[in-house]
Subunit: 203 residues, 8 copies
């Protein structure tokens, strides 16, 4: 039933050998494999075996993307608030692409400079589903949610310091969003944001 | 752009007069109005003015549902874990219905009696999008999420006592779901769950 | 040194007799007295003694405002996100007025309907100092802060439920504001917001 | 009274010399000694002195297991949710074995792939007492608890990130388990889980 | 497989009619039924229908105990720290009795008067399994755990004020117990403590 | 409208190349640039390009301060409690200076040696606006706030250990200040404190 | 060994009959009995039996104080910050008196009006041991601690709102006191403060 | 007034040069100086200048103890629960000694082996004041407090893992102690414990 879904390996806490072993086994039957939270060493070993493998050092994602059939029925936007939220946004982008989406990336449009958000209003309203990544006060999903009528997946990031409490402030902000079209995934879970958005975009 | 969307009033913290005033103004131009977190008094006053108004005392929702056009493209399931989670689930049901969905309700299927969940497997796998309401340990969305490939909106409830910390345990559980298709709304936010699921089901 | 400052009584936790006793003593030498967090009973007793006393039931503030000299050097704006944030905003307004300010009130302009905020842009940018009251995700101070270059005092409110944790979500959001001109007072402390803004507006 | 109990040294925060000193003293009169949370260096030194010592690098446990009398009256199962929970599960296994149990290990059966749990139903229902190790949402003990009628000891692990808050999410989930046969030990306390289960299995 | 197990209804959050309905249905086929967290009204209605029903107002438990077969293989002790912990201890006692145990109750033996605990040493060491209920600092399970070699089920209670944070202090204390034979259930969950202990005592 | 404002780069989480790129672009049109939370490497590279750049290793701030026009209308004081709070205080000083203020620094005047605070009373009362940096119990802003009638910006620091919880104790203390003229910024946010105070001092 | 110690009953959570029963039993052999956290009803019943009983409605303490021997070797001061902290301070006073101390009460001397504290410097420095009660930011013990060299027992109170989190802010502040002579008891535990200070004053 | 008090330097966060500078200045007029939380480097430099300096690597304390007059009026006991609590206990010992006390050390007497505590009953009851250091569940101060009638200063330690939350569990336990003679200092604050106890022992 899950045709066109990539196989996914959560790299954190696994050894290089474990990841390679699982990846090899999966790639015997799957076209596409995504490894999240991995590192240069795994990337090097994988590229030696699968030259088509792409590694994204900013977020630690590794992708073997052979079957590039589009499954998304419209544009999927990934929006981020600040440049330090980019790694999380990138994880969402890499995930959504390997799941067959045409991803429109809009970065550095946090609420304290809300004119930049408005400068992209047409791209934002064109999206069929949106992933919004933001740290610190996590206000961007509410602002975006109020501008569109499509579903918004909010991804709090651990960007910040002090009373951000490693993403807790952003998480709580997003859960209390006064925009009704917002739902939330775990702190720094760009993968989850991209995955849920991709499922929605297939419908 | 938001055709077929009901107008919604969040009743908590508003006086009877405030709610009635807003409702009357909205009903001049909108077919459907939903009031959440309200009470018998408001319900009585509304029914006197709009005999078609329905009140759901278990969750405090009040609905004027005139335009019953279906907007959902498939079955939308609302699943709950225990009988005390029913009020939150009901808020999701009332919301999803007034937004034009055919809602399939599956209750009392918590993970500690997982055979009851399996006894409803065909209904669950048939859904195009699912809302799952659970308190205490909040494990049901993960179990459901693992059985289906559609999007699952998890609604933690404040049901429980002691270390449930008013729904915090369930909320954290759902945010950490190992099922990739799960996203989460605020504790007891049945409305949010039903709303997001309805948006998805229109796509 | 504090000419034109009202005397202030924090009413919560004081008996009617205690408040009346303190107020009488203060009014012998002070023109203006403000009582916060008090009730109808105190208000009735005070009005019997001081007919000019005004009571604001929505926020429980009571004011004897005899010396109405203006001390503010420009417009002081009080902005609130939702109608349920009004009591906190009102405490700020009542405080700022009794401290000699011309207060411009802008309500119901939360970030999920950001066009309403923009519709008031001229009033907002005209202010010399701004108090912003918001509950739930507390995103409004960041949005306002990004639109103006004057100081913004953010007042988180306990409005919300579930993961708002009685105002904690809004508080953390405001402390992590990506707008540099924002500082924060305690949850529901409309008085503090109005007071700090009034001090600034005298400079 | 505690015949057949191993002597246990909690290695964390002790120097190599301290651990060796305690171990030598204990091994003069005890057949079996278990050191938890230790390292390669201690392991090397111990093996030089006691060639029969076994070291388990994945969890840092070190065991001198001379008296292998069985004390458990039936199978003791150790179940884990994901591969990253393995170190904690292994600490439970090593403990239960050195306390004289026949341990049945069932790994990688988290609730998001609940069919894998069901594929082991006969082994699970055969157990006289069960230790369940899970991180993230910590839902597995509830699912297992609902399938069996024997006591289940739940061990939350610190596996996860973001809103797992170093195992807090799993801990709260397990404490709120809707399965009545579940009790809980500290986060990552595989030793405690194996120990309590072993005591129960002797009865 | 669960012969001799009572049927249990969690009364909190259920209406009188709901509880009576479930109880009647269950009592058609079950000998024993336990309702926890219920009230005088339910108790009165139940006694009218089932004269053998016993109600325990101190903890809100209601019991129909017809089949009084003993299933416990030895004495099950329920120990509590202070008189205000008694309601939780009583819930454990009522549960353990209806599950077929001979319960030895030892109350008011908190660690600040540790001689009272020692005065009961023979009864404590005779037990096959022990439930320990304590609020405030929750130290009693560690003290008891150190005196016996049988399993100890710790039940933190919400007794206390201030920094007890509704039982959190006791809960954390018990989870960090330096006695290895201690496992823990939810705050105020006397039922869970009695249930787990009863399961263990059948082995 | 923001004449005389420096351009500010938040260095944390940015690469050396990113910071240099942004700084160069900004310095084409801006006289003054401030980089916070940066390091020796960036400082070296910047000094090579802009010999007038100053680096403050104690707090990681880097400043290009060409236009030294005074904008502050009176003395701006930066007060700190202990020597370990100095880095945060320094960030405030560097910020306030580059924004055109005459900064009066008063250090090591924590409340446990309150005579040192009083020894500086004339300097403190002369200030037009005050930034107060304190860790541990964060009591200094209340004491200062009670001595002056000007606005006080409180900056909690993460100095301390144990129950300071990385600045949470100081933050909560400051938010609950019984001095009405106190508002608060994020933990360790010396920049924010200096910035808000500078805005106020321009009025 | 504890000559001159009163017998103490913690009234919270006990029925009137329970308290009366314990009190009567204790008064057969003890001269002095203190009941904390009780109410008018108990007070009335006690006064009927023991006309010398004194009831303190502001804090709910009830005292039978027959043996008025002084045990304190010098003045014991009880200091409070605001009028709403008085109930907790009163509990400390009542306790210290019944334990044989000459209590010097100094109220309403919070740090925001630090001149009031200094106005009492001679009384404060004369004390042999000091209890300091304060809510909100809990800064008073640090200020007092810095002025004296005797032991200071800090009692955080739950006075405040919002980010005081029911006394947590004051508690954390006091635990992080930069004055070395400060130790802390539970939130609102005036009894504990008075008790510890009395023990110290006997030495 | 503070005759016989050492000068104290809190080493954490200070550079070697800063500590040496302060120490030299203090030693010109003070007989005794204590530096806490410092390191080998500082110790080496200090010993070169002051050969009588003693360094305690287990807790990082450094002491110049020239004036060894006894100020304590009786034995001061320092008790610890486990071997890993020793560093904190040692800080208390070093502090109490340099403040002129005869310190009786009793280690490794945690509540789970309560017979070891009882084996030292005569030493414990002989003490005039007691410092108790414990991590994990922090139960030892309650047990000790119940055995003696002198003041007990409880020092929670950060020893433990998981739900000890870096000493929070022990801290909360001690604040909720059911022994009335217990007061508490910050987590790991052995210095504070020794200091307060020394002040008391002078009385
Ligand atoms: N709503 C409020 N929140 C916080 N502080 C307040 C409030 N109202 C008054 N205050 C402060 O409380 C002080 C008076 O406290 P009191 O002497 O207890 O009446 C005033 O000077 C204000 O600083
Ligand atoms: N991983 C562990 N977690 C919690 N407790 C442990 C662990 N390993 C050993 N222990 C306990 O620590 C005790 C030994 O502590 P110690 O005397 O400090 O070595 C043993 O009797 C066990 O009860
Ligand atoms: N006091 C209690 N605390 C926790 N769980 C309980 C309690 N009383 C009953 N239960 C559980 O609740 C289940 C019944 O739930 P319900 O179907 O909602 O009545 C029983 O099987 C027990 O597992
Ligand atoms: N307000 C209070 N807060 C904390 N402990 C108290 C308080 N009042 C009394 N106690 C303690 O409670 C003990 C009596 O408890 P109980 O036997 O439950 O009445 C006394 O010995 C005191 O140690
Ligand atoms: Mg929402
Ligand atoms: Mg997910
Ligand atoms: Mg800011
Ligand atoms: Mg349970
Ligand atoms: Mg344990
Ligand atoms: Mg304030
Ligand atoms: Mg201290
Ligand atoms: Mg106490």
């Amino acid at each position: 039933i899950r045709t066109g879904m990539p196989e996914v390996i959560f790299g954190k806490g696994k050894t290089t050998e474990q990841i390679l072993g699982i990846a090899e086994r999966l790639l015997e039957r799957a076209s596409n494999v995504l490894v999240t939270r991995t590192n240069e060493e795994v990337a090097g070993r994988m590229k030696a075996l699968y030259p088509e493998a792409e590694y994204f050092p900013a977020c630690g994602a590794l992708r073997v993307w052979r079957d590039r059939t589009m499954h998304g029925k419209g544009p999927l936007a990934v929006i981020s608030a600040g440049t330090t939220d980019m790694p999380v946004a990138l994880e969402a982008v890499v995930t959504a692409e390997v799941m067959g989406n045409d991803v429109d990336q809009i970065h550095d449009v946090g609420v304290a400079g809300i004119h930049r958000l408005f400068g992209n209003l047409d791209r934002i309203t064109k999206a069929r589903v949106i992933v919004v990544c933001a740290g610190m006060e996590g206000a961007l999903p509410s602002a975006v949610g109020g501008l569109v009528s499509c579903p918004v997946i909010a991804v709090p990031t651990s960007v910040g310091y002090g009373a951000s409490f490693h993403g807790l402030a952003a998480l709580l902000g997003m859960l209390n969003s006064c925009a009704s079209n917002v739902s939330v995934v775990n702190i720094d879970n760009g993968f989850g944001g991209g995955y849920v958005a991709s499922l929605i975009n297939r419908l």
